[in-house]
Amino acid sequence: MIAANLARIMARRGHLVVAVDCDSDPNLALSAGVPPRVAERMRPFLDQSGGKMTFPRGVPAPELIRDYGFAGPDNVTLLLAAQVEHAGAG
């Protein structure tokens, strides 16, 4: 609740804001006011394929944001770090 509202408030104050949900049970987008059906379209940027979560190699931050960033309310760019996709994966 605090991170989501802080992100939007900082954006309203004129900052470019990127808000990253690093929780394995993510809800930052919902807390920021993104409807559930829209929020579920977000893709996590961490590579979870090897059973371990790693950053995509050699991807600069602006590219990461272009590929995974999601425009939220007040123009906050939302990023989803990870999401447990099925039981046993996390």
Partner: protein, 154 residues
């Protein structure tokens, strides 16, 4: 929760909402340690304060330059977080009150800022935003960026 000016993005405020306990600071070799400030959200409950204690220890290990506490869901007569802050030698940078508007917004599945923009909780988060702005401004100013580019993170 972490608040950072990410250097290779220019003047961007990056807010990372972390899991309680910061176990995943190990992600990508602890990349998330490269932050300007760590805000530890603590609620006046024993379990929350135990988690906050662990987080403080981790933050110290990682040499995060600024660490402060955000007291959340506090009533005016709560002083457990003050005692905790004193014991950990941490500043309480904001006190978000227990607020029925927050509960109602969450029950309605809405952002508190949309549902109750005038609520006490939002007023306090707004104050926190101004405070962070004042403290972190030097990092996002031109000089800060120049310094950061001269010494990039790995």
């Amino acid at each position: 929760m972490i608040h950072t000016a990410e250097n290779d993005l220019g003047e961007v405020v990056v807010i990372a909402d972390m899991e309680a306990g910061l176990e995943h600071l190990s992600w990508a070799g602890g990349t998330l340690r490269h932050v300007d400030m760590l805000l530890i959200v603590a609620e006046p409950y024993v379990k929350s304060l135990v988690t906050a204690t662990r987080t403080c220890a981790l933050a110290a290990q990682l040499s995060i330059p600024r660490v402060a506490l955000v007291a959340n869901r506090v009533n005016s007569d709560d002083n457990d977080i003050e005692a905790f802050a004193a014991a950990e030698d941490l500043e309480i940078i904001a006190r978000i009150p227990e607020d029925g508007d927050v509960r109602r917004a969450e029950r309605a599945g809405r952002c508190v800022l949309d549902h109750a923009p005038e609520s006490a909780a939002i007023r306090e988060i707004d104050k926190l935003g101004r405070e962070l702005e004042a403290r972190l401004r030097p990092l996002t100013g031109e000089d800060g960026l120049t310094r950061a580019r001269a010494a990039p993170h790995a």
